[in-house]
Amino acid sequence: MSSTTAAIHAGHPPTTTGLDHRKIAIWAFIGSECMLFASLISTYLIYKGRSRTGPFPHEWWCQATNATSATGPIANCPAGALYKPILNIPVTSQSTFVLLMSSLAMVLALAAVENKGKKGWAGPGWGGRLMESSKLWLLATAILGAGFLCYQAFEFTSFVHEGLTIKTNLFGSSFFTLTGFHGAHVTAGVLWLLTLLAIDMKRGLGPRDALLVDISALYWHFVDVVWIAIFTLVYLIR
């Protein structure tokens, strides 16, 4: 949906740019968020590899001797003192996939709201009816977002059980701060989506409301792109 159309549809007064102020505001907000996450990511990268004690993200660690190994378990380490690399890549890969799919659901929700009332825009049959349901796609996005948060809760809990807290070492401090901030953003996004879903259930969202959904979609996709960066920089690069 073009911004100028949104301005007219939502009864927004004419502006000097011809653009809706709310959409300018969300892009400015996203721009400022870029700098917030840049500061958190750079803090993580600066502290990377400077922890004096484990557990470490990609290395095995022997607590008794403080020896580390990137290749495998450390020989002659007493039982109970050996810590494996703490990052669980398979689990995080799944949560990354879940978040990527939530972005797909979000664009479909926006398309459904923008095209509501247009006969047959999504094609014939049950597939078309499925595509036309903004409630379904908003709910799907919120569920996938909540699913991502469940993965994160599982990850944080398992880290604490394995001995890594925000106070343990520099890795723990920077990791929990960065991913915790991201998780807080996802939580806000899920609440936002549930609010839109409630409005949709109560009175229905149509083309007049497309800008409201567009703005929340921009926020949601931004949360997704931030995770794309975090997944590579924190989890995959050793």
Binding site: T4, T5, I24, C34, L45, M106, V107, M131, L236
Partner: protein, 122 residues
């Protein structure tokens, strides 16, 4: 003269609204595009995780640049197609790319400042 931009934008808005009312297709991508974007993002993610488990590749000098490139491609694809920046007004593009460039420059500058990145001469 000062009111001219307002008048022009209002005219454009009315024209756009009329176009919308007439059922004209907007510049946004279609379902097929969204589907392909999702598929490409999934494939790139799979490749990223796959190369993480190849010790020879992890040890090579290509590992980090390859991961950064794949991540950048995913980032750009989402921003262009899902956030519609490819189709949206240039003001929005400037509002996003400006701070993004500042943010990336800050990260790189801090990496040099704390000796995480080093330029070797001689």
């Amino acid at each position: 003269m000062a009111h001219e931009p307002v008048h022009r934008s209002s005219t454009e808005s009315v024209a756009s609204a009329e176009a919308h009312a007439a059922g004209e297709v907007h510049e946004h991508p279609t379902w097929a595009t969204y589907k392909w974007v999702a598929l490409i993002l999934t494939v790139i993610t799979i490749v990223e995780v796959w190369v993480y488990y190849i010790p020879a590749f992890v040890a090579s000098r290509l590992f980090v640049p390859a991961l950064l490139t794949m991540s950048a491609v995913k980032f750009v694809i989402v921003v262009l197609f899902y956030m519609h920046l490819k189709y949206d007004h240039r003001v929005f593009r400037a509002l996003f790319t400006g701070p993004l460039i500042i943010a990336m420059t800050t990260i790189v500058a801090l990496m040099f400042l704390f000796a995480k990145l080093v330029i070797r001469t001689g």
